[in-house]
Amino acid sequence: MTVSATETKFSDLTRMPDARGHFGPYGGRFVSETLSFALEELEQIYLSLRDDPDFQAEFDRDLAHYVGRPSPLYHAKRWSESLGGAQIWLKREDLNHTGAHKVNNTIGQALLAKKTGKPRVIAETGAGQHGVATATVAARLGLECDVYMGAADVQRQKLNVYRMRLLGARVIPVESGTRTLKDAMNEALRDWVTNVDNTFYIIGTVAGPHPYPQLVRDFNAVVGREARRQSLEQIGRLPDALVACVGGGSNALGLFYPFVEDDAVAMYGVEAGGDGVETGRHAAPLSSNAPRGVLHGNRTYLMSDEAGQVSDTHSISAGLDYPGVGPEHALWKDVGRVNYVAANDKEVLEAFRELTHMEGIMPALESAHALAHAKVLAPTMRPDQHIVVNLSGRGDKDIMTVAKIDGIEF
């Protein structure tokens, strides 16, 4: 904790992390010794490849021909009009192969895995989108794939569980702790410590030990680079605001990062408000002012009790149901570059239904958090102002959850 966050200027934010993986006081590599060598190895491979033109070209080729990038920037005219304020543009990550932004990162990490020559990959997953994206790249490269998923999430994301199995992955339900994403990550780390010689761990968000927060951000930054270019082409200028949901924070960082020095672009990170931040039943460490803490290899804001035990979280959305947040977001909160807010389950469902009805686009419940905040924000702005919302994923996987709320059984 040697660097104080308040000394950090906006212009410094593009130069993070430092050589040891710290984002000001956050980030780092808080892992048991057995994993240190694997992380050093990963860091070396990544640093040697990130500026390598061949590696970049291969990554870009896969994104174009396998994922289907660039994803469109779509003007949600009808919805914008009904809200009566700013124009809302949707960055359509839902149209990616496998249905979410998660695949940008798994494509990148799969290329790294290939370089290490390890025959097996593992992943943790909440909503199952990262698990599906990992199972997908593993199938394509012929790698063995095990995915850890909290037992509670296995129940609420059955469709994705079956998708992973069809893709040839083994889905391992995790019964410990709160049986959600954090427990899946604990179990994946235990697997990795045991099988570190032959296994590459594909982490699904901008969390975990260094260098994961950095490389997951870099692989997802394609979202923001495209959105920036598309805004200039389609709007004729940069947008006034960006909005993205924040679980671990990868889709948000992916969108925000290329805009970080555009001071006139406001940014909103939307956390899972659950039953409402004031009830304590949520998954919103930043907007609830959770204390600093260390979990899963990094220091960040972390929901925990006075004794330092990690708190249970609550959210309608399995992909956001996590007590921590990527360390770079913690720094961006401190320096005030991003406004972190929360949307509660009820508001999220409303936004889910509204976009589906008015635009014919069914968003993932995670992404619907961003939409819920856009609904609040747009009416406070003028019709000649523009908001870009990261539509991080599609809602097919959530149909069962919504049906259940509607009292429908299949």
């Binding site: 048991s32 994993l35 410590v193």
Partner: protein
Amino acid sequence: MNRIDQRFSELKQQGRKALIPYITAGDPAPQYTVGFMHALVDAGADVIELGVPFSDPMADGPVIQKACERALKQGTRLVDLLEMVAEFRQTDTTTPIVLMGYLNPIERIGYEVFADKAASVGVDGVLVVDMPPEEADEFGPLLKARGLAAIFLVAPTTSHARAATICAHGEGYLYYVSLKGVTGAATLNAEDVAEHLAPLRDMTDLPLCVGFGIRDGVTAAEVAKVADGVIVGSALVNRIADSVDAPETIAGQLKSVLAEMRTAMDA
């Protein structure tokens, strides 16, 4: 002199190896822990590693995970654990105590407040599983300044260069993790351990203690031949798990497990 250094120098003079039991504080309930600690000393413990229960013990297998769950269910907090140490010290002023756990509970109390309290109740060393030396540049000196040993892990995957760094920062003893995996995993391979310890001897005068995979007198004796100390955790915690319904029998069982190891090691 720190009690840990004192103890290892005595053992060296006697030509004996250290036996270091681990139990999770507060398991199966806080009121038993101090009694267990005394029982372990009676059965031949040279140092006690007292586990700080944590909600997310990422480096532990199911046995210690469940121990953490039991302890947390009973509301065991780090501050309670420090009181247990204070109580233990009322009658035992010589057995070194090392707190072992994860960083977040310490981070929450605050490094300095924790270090002050730990030193004042009679803790001798601190091993934070998820804090390698690179991340200890603030916490390590705070411990040192109060005469508390910062103990670090070395793993089979640790490179020569890293091992040198760890040796340079480590105090008390080096904890060599005998296998790739979590606590309570398969049995260790003593030959493999010996091979890994040899280069460490050239780097440091710290005692080399080995943990993970030691389950009985046989494995303890094997390891004692090549190391300066033997750390045993899951084999003891298993006994606690099996007797949560008869907690009054646990101290006796812990004693017999440890006594068997002591006898085998000293033979």
